[in-house]
């Protein structure tokens, strides 16, 4: 027969419960940390999504401008320019797919973090996380910045979110994703900074290669046109080239600035989730730059 007094065990139980609660609560993301992750993830998703859709628009615009130039001027005046058999010259699927991999990975990174801090259902979280890993796989050089063990670590913490100690698991997942993918995210940002540089990046030059010859043919058609319809056709071509020029001069710089701001904000975020001293300034600056990008796109597209 057990003759021990049950009272101390009861007291122990009553004491352990608040201690456990305080440990678990302390292991959750704090309100400022959540705010930082939330603002960063929104901006990251915005930068990735807007840039992805702009790339598609640039590819579509290239096809339309090449068609229009061929309609107005006939056969290409230089064999290196796009023609009827290569309407998407310069924005070929493979080239666009690689850059899209980078932009979609940035968006999925943001969506994964947003799902973790916004108490989103685990199915959405897993979709965003899978998209992040898949998009990284479409950028050939990304593998040099994130290895299989790191990707596995991310997958494991995401799978584990839910059930008991959910807040602690969410915090652990945020820290793991930010830490393990930091190099890869910086690399993706560097790729965007390089490719979207309005002065030296390939995207700007590629748009101009298509745009200026169309301007020339449209001018010739406008000056030589005898009817209202001739001039209307020429002016529609101008409108196409002008839309592309607006993208080249206004959007590319904002994408480059956004990617540059994201690099800095990602470093601040890493410090924030580690609990080190961190500044909210870089995260706010990133948010400001991505809003500027989104506003410019809305203005240009609704013109």
């Amino acid at each position: 027969m057990d003759t021990r007094d049950p009272q101390p065990a009861r007291w122990c139980g009553l004491l352990i419960l608040p201690v456990m609660v305080s440990i678990v609560t302390g292991c959750a993301l704090t309100a400022p940390q959540k705010a930082a992750v939330s603002q960063f993830s929104d901006s990251s998703a915005r930068l990735g999504d807007v840039t992805s859709s702009e790339l598609r628009a640039m590819r579509d615009g290239t096809v339309k401008m090449t068609i229009e130039r061929l309609l107005l001027g006939g056969k290409s005046k230089d064999p290196n320019l796009g023609d009827q058999a290569s309407l998407d010259r310069g924005f070929e699927l493979e080239r666009v797919e690689t850059v899209s991999g980078a932009t979609q990975a940035l968006a999925a990174y943001g969506k994964s973090l947003a799902a973790l801090v916004d108490d989103t259902q685990s199915a959405e979280l897993k979709t965003a996380s899978n998209e992040f890993v898949a998009s990284l796989g479409r950028v050939p050089t990304a593998k040099q910045h994130i290895n299989d063990q790191q990707l596995e670590a991310i997958g494991t913490v995401i799978q584990d979110v839910g059930g008991f100690l959910v807040e602690w698991k969410r915090k652990r997942a945020v820290r793991t994703i930010v830490k393990e993918s930091k190099d890869a995210i910086e690399h993706l940002c560097d790729l965007l900074i390089r490719d979207f540089d309005p002065k030296n990046g390939w995207v700007a030059k590629q748009l101009q290669v298509v745009e200026d010859p169309l301007m020339a043919e449209a001018t010739n058609s406008l000056y030589d046109g005898h009817t209202y319809n001739d001039r209307k056709i020429a002016l529609e071509a101008f409108l196409l080239a002008d839309g592309s020029r607006m993208r080249r001069t206004e959007i590319l710089k904002r994408v480059m600035d956004g990617a540059d701001a994201m690099k800095k904000a990602n470093s601040s975020l890493a410090q924030a989730v580690e609990g080190s001293a961190w500044s909210v300034h870089d995260i706010q600056d990133f948010a400001k730059k991505t809003r500027s990008l989104q506003t410019a796109v809305k203005i240009i597209v609704t013109q």
Binding site: N200, W202, A216, D224
Partner: protein
Amino acid sequence: MADSLGEELSAALSNITSLIIKTESKSERLKLTKQQAKIAGQLQVFIDKVVDEALPEYEEATAALSVANGEAEAAKKKLDKIAGTIKKFADATDKLAALAAKVAAA
């Protein structure tokens, strides 16, 4: 001093577009349109392939484009300079073709 080849090519495309829009002469417009297509074609090659900046042809093409762009800037203000600009761009496109041949052979 000349900018990089990419910047000079980009400036050349913009300058020629401006001259095509400004000139009243149809023959000048057609000549400029052909030259612009050639320059755009060369820029396309340089986007697709890595160009060795150490090649002497690179420096020659960049310098020739810089001169032509300077002339084009002046022609935008005085349209009677367009004929001279066309000659300068012709010289630049010859040098670009020499560079493109070197790049293609590499």
